[in-house]
Amino acid sequence: MPEVIIEASALHKEYSGFPAVKGIDFAVAKGECFGFLGPNGAGKTTTMNMVQGYSPITSGTLTVFGMDRRKDHRNINARLGVVPQENNLDPDITVLENLLIYARYFDIPKSVARERAASLLDFMSLTDKKDERIPKLSGGMKRRLMVARALINEPELIILDEPTTGLDPQARHMIWQRLGELKSSGRTLVLTTHYMEEAEHLCDRLVIMDGGKILTEGTPRKLIKKYVKGSVVELAMPESGPARVLECLKGIEFEHEVSGSVLYIYTEDAATALDKAACFAASGFRHRQATLEDVFLKLTGRELRE
């Protein structure tokens, strides 16, 4: 059993009477990338805030590096790197100064801070921008600088709240690549995301949250297998309803879901299902591999969240 970095049990958080996280349990092992997925308001950010020591815990227990989150703020946070959902870089000072001033909060000596800042700027491809002020940076550069800043204390645990939301594909892939490298170097990563692709790409294990609770936990592959089979056929719903299509597919193992004007067929047996393509050819269909997004929508529903 590898070392446990974060352990939460019956972790509960209320904001003036409103429960945002309702008694969740999870454990993150050293060196893994652990994801929190869920629609807005699921309690992901609240959970991150508790792990970072930003928000106090209402009840339950939470240990980080084996230390009590309630009592050991300084010792825990000295070993933690945080990339919050909203960028909070210092706009008045330059890119390099943002790193150097942040290093001071961790008591990092000036010469060490300079060395680390230079190599982090290089790592995040920001060396050319080191003397720019923050408002001059693009969204992707700001996000990369946020990641660099979170690494200034060489943290063992890095918490990223929606690290790539709003970025273009180039910036997103660059950040994914760097996060992958950090994981290979033995750091533990915890992230929240709305991008299923991101979760599948980066996370060894993940939980799906909704309404302050954890709905399920596992590796992306296991979750797909468990909840939505291997492949999906999406087709426009026939005017007469799904009955005729379902009847026609008799004999193969499948599950179906109706959402609006779309009928989803989930099955392990893609080949046979496609043999029966005549059943749904009339409505026009699309066959694809099942993804985490299918799991997500199945578990959390398709209706819009605020």
Partner: protein, 260 residues
């Protein structure tokens, strides 16, 4: 509420927050200093020279000499108040600088304390750059002057922590209009800078006793004129106790605002 009574957990790391504020200010210090010099000098010119034809002497000295020590200390008040009002609010709300700092080993109480120290520093700087101008024009002559920096530092802490309490409750920048027009401006006009309080009806001087600036002005004037007596210890003690209380309250309320 229980937590409100436990002493703030402020350690040496508050100094790192002060350093951050200093480094950010250093980028813009020139326009900031010019503003600091211009305003008090304008007041001296307008009131001191402007009124000197009509008011020949107050308390045995030319009117401009009478108001100079008060103008200096009000400059410390303004600079410290502005810093911990608009400056701190910007760092707390718009820039989220506080949020960035409190996920490091620095805690929120140290952030608040560091901002108070920085506000005090701004007040200190503001008064210190005017002082030589006044000495140069012969408006202040007493050797007691050498104690002025201590007064500026104390007044800076006092007004910085007062303003930070307002910041802990401010929903937006507009909110500060209340503080500046209902607290800071009345203090400026009724704390004995422009006229001696003992010539006013008794209720005025009694009301003035409750204003922090009154005590700062009387100490400042005593150090400038050399008319130093033991009653000044009362003023200093008043300021010390008040500063301790306001900084405590400011730190606790900033904590309450940020920690959710």
């Amino acid at each position: 509420m229980n937590d409100f009574l436990t002493p703030p957990r402020v350690g040496r790391r508050a100094f790192k927050v002060w350093q951050r504020d200093r480094d950010a200010w250093y980028k813009f210090y020139k326009p900031s200093l010019i503003g600091n010099i211009a305003e008090p000098v304008l007041f001296l010119l307008a009131f001191g020279f402007g009124l000197s034809k009509y008011i020949t002497d107050v308390g045995g000295m030319p009117y401009i000499n009478f108001i100079a020590p008060g103008i200096v200390i009000s400059s410390a008040m303004n600079a410290a108040s502005f810093e911990c009002a608009f400056g701190s609010f910007t760092r707390m709300s718009a820039q989220k600088t506080y949020d960035a700092i409190i996920v490091t080993p620095v805690n929120i109480e140290e952030v608040a304390a560091g901002d108070i120290m920085w506000g005090a520093t701004k007040g200190f700087i503001s008064a210190m750059i005017i002082l030589p101008i006044l000495v140069l024009f012969g408006l202040i002559e007493s050797p007691w002057l050498v104690l002025s920096p201590l007064l500026f530092a104390l007044a800076g802490l006092m007004f910085a922590s007062m303003a930070l309490i307002v910041t802990a409750f401010a929903p937006s920048y507009d909110f500060y209009a209340y503080y500046f027009s209902l607290v800071v401006s009345p203090m400026f006009f009724f704390s004995g800078i422009f006229f001696p309080l003992d010539t006013m009806p008794e209720w005025v001087s009694m009301a003035a006793w409750f204003m922090p600036l009154t005590h700062a002005v009387s100490v400042s004037r005593a150090l400038a004129t050399g008319d130093v007596s033991f009653t000044l210890l009362g003023d200093v003690l008043w300021m010390l106790v008040f500063t301790l209380a306001t900084s405590w309250v400011a730190i606790k309320f900033i904590r309450r605002r940020l920690v959710k």
